[in-house]
């Protein structure tokens, strides 16, 4: 067992207050990113899913995935710091019950295939990709 250069009670507070605050904050940011990218994905589908927008959505999807994983890690870190603090206290079972009751930040929804053509909305609707225009040259009205 290593040394502890921080008071276990303070460490516990980091795990029960500071880290969850940060996790909540990042979860909100992730949810906002999710919502924003969802709107842009729908508009991109209506715009015919040009490669530029699909590439931007691919980047957005990756940023979102990482941010979401970060929220998950922050939730874990809150628990880990409490466990570490309690480990120094040696109050195993009692402490275990305490960190079991830590409320994790809500993990934002999973994102899949943001960059593929079309867009699926949260309510189950689908926005199809607007097809490319057909060159009307040579077309004569009425024929």
């Amino acid at each position: 067992m290593g040394e502890l250069r921080i008071d276990p009670q303070q460490l516990r507070t980091r795990g029960t207050v500071n880290v969850p605050d940060q996790a909540e904050r990042m979860a909100r940011v992730a949810q906002d990113l999710f919502d924003g990218l969802g709107s842009l994905n729908s508009m991109s589908a209506l715009a015919g899913d040009p490669t530029a927008l699909r590439n931007l959505l691919q980047v957005g999807s990756d940023v979102y995935d990482e941010l979401r994983k970060t929220v998950g890690s922050l939730n874990n870190i809150g628990v880990a710091l409490v466990m570490t603090a309690d480990d120094f206290h040696g109050t195993d079972e009692q402490a275990e019950k305490k960190y079991e009751h830590l409320t994790p930040a809500p993990l934002p929804p999973d994102y899949r295939d943001l960059e593929t053509p079309g867009a699926n909305s949260e309510d189950g609707g689908h926005v199809p990709s607007t097809p490319d225009a057909v060159d009307p040259d040579g077309y004569h009205p009425g024929r």
């Binding site: 880290v19 991109s44 040009p50 530029a52 927008l53 225009a133 009307p136 009205p141």
Partner: protein, 373 residues
């Protein structure tokens, strides 16, 4: 923010264009029939009565009245009895009706065709795009930029002493948290910039197509009024309201120039510049939708006949707006180079490439919920 584009008004204008284009073509065909009906002729004697005819146009405003003495074929063997003259006149009227009715069927489908041509830039709702971008600027980019300070948990080096199985994961996570979270903000800022440039193209194409459709509608109505006024003579002067066509290629160029000012490079400290550039583009879109920033084409087409007006409609909607819109999107993807462009200037492809280059370092290594000591 308001959208300068009204999808309903655009649809109405296209429907009206189709209707009026059909009327105009009908007038031209009826006129042609009137003049071709009795070739090699003398004029019908006035004593037999003035020829009166009106086109079967369902819109009274554009019904063309003919008060003329048509030529009647008087070749050998022609029966000049009143009964025969009446039969000839009735035949001419019937032929003109048939010819006129071909006009609306000739134009049938034009509105739908143009709607399809323009769908990729008229379907997206620009305020939804700009609203999402503004929200992400304020609630994602700004939040991540201002996220945390170093040693935000004030552990004071305590983590260095822990030797649990995942203590190293925690240390890497904690030490890199600030930089990585800021990087998420910068990349989101670039995404916002890219979408704001796309929104600028879409808003421009919408404004252009909307104004062109409106000017063609007015032009057509003006041509039809001329026909009515001239009592069945084909007008020789183009109507008022020469068709307006915007310079979409120029708008694409200026949009790409905006991208040219922003570099995308590895570890950047460009967030503030990136943020303000995106804000400037958004302001630009606001101006674009509210006024006439879309530049005019130098030459207006002088169009008069139905074929010419259809040609003008097709060329402006497909060649000018659609093809340039697509080219603009391709250029946002591939990027550009030119005077005033910074090295590694912004492009969607470049951003994706940069993300690939950063690879596994892009995010943070996961930390499980375990005792770190």
């Amino acid at each position: 923010m308001t959208s300068g584009f009204d999808q309903g008004a655009f649809d109405d204008a296209l429907d009206r264009i189709e209707t009026c284009l059909g009327y105009l073509k009908g007038n031209e065909l009826a006129w042609q029939t009137f003049h071709e009906y009795g070739l090699g002729t003398i004029e019908m004697p006035p004593a037999l009565g003035e020829f009166s005819y009106s086109t079967p146009c369902p819109d009274g405003r554009f019904k063309v009245e003919y008060w003329k003495y048509p030529s009647i074929d008087t070749q050998a063997g022609w029966d000049s009895s009143p009964e025969n003259i009446k039969a000839q006149v009735d035949g001419l009227k019937q032929a003109m009706d048939t010819a006129w009715r071909f006009g609306p069927s000739w134009a049938n489908g034009v509105a739908g065709q143009m709607r399809d041509v323009c769908a990729q830039f008229t379907e997206p709702f620009v305020p939804t795009m700009t609203g999402a971008i503004e929200m992400m600027q304020a609630r994602v980019v700004s939040q991540l930029e201002l996220s945390v300070n170093d040693d935000w948990l004030e552990l004071g080096g305590a983590a260095a002493d822990w030797d649990g199985r995942f203590a190293n994961n925690f240390r890497i996570f904690y030490d890199n948290y600030n930089d990585v979270v800021s990087r998420f903000g910068v990349f989101t800022g670039w995404i916002n910039l890219g979408f704001s440039l796309a929104a600028r193209l879409i808003a421009g194409a919408q404004q252009g197509a909307g104004k062109t459709a409106d000017s063609l509608r007015k032009n057509l109505e003006s041509q039809l009024d001329h026909w009515v006024h001239d009592g069945g003579d084909q007008p020789n002067e183009p109507g008022e309201w020469p068709p307006w066509v915007g310079d979409m290629a120029s708008l694409v160029g200026s949009t790409l120039d905006l991208a040219g000012k922003i570099p995308i490079v590895g570890e950047v400290n460009e967030l503030r510049g990136l943020y303000s550039q995106t804000t400037a583009v958004m302001q630009d879109i606001d101006d674009l939708t509210g006024s006439n920033l879309m530049p005019d084409k130098k030459a207006f087409a002088q169009v008069q006949r139905a074929d010419e007006i259809y040609e003008c409609l097709q060329t402006s909607m497909y060649d000018e707006y659609y093809l340039n819109y697509r080219a603009g999107m391709d250029q946002i993807d591939a990027g550009g180079a030119g005077e005033g462009y910074v090295e590694n200037s912004f492009s969607a492809q470049g951003l994706l490439g940069l993300m690939d280059d950063v690879g596994s370092q892009f995010g943070l290594r996961p930390v499980p919920a375990t005792n770190l000591n």
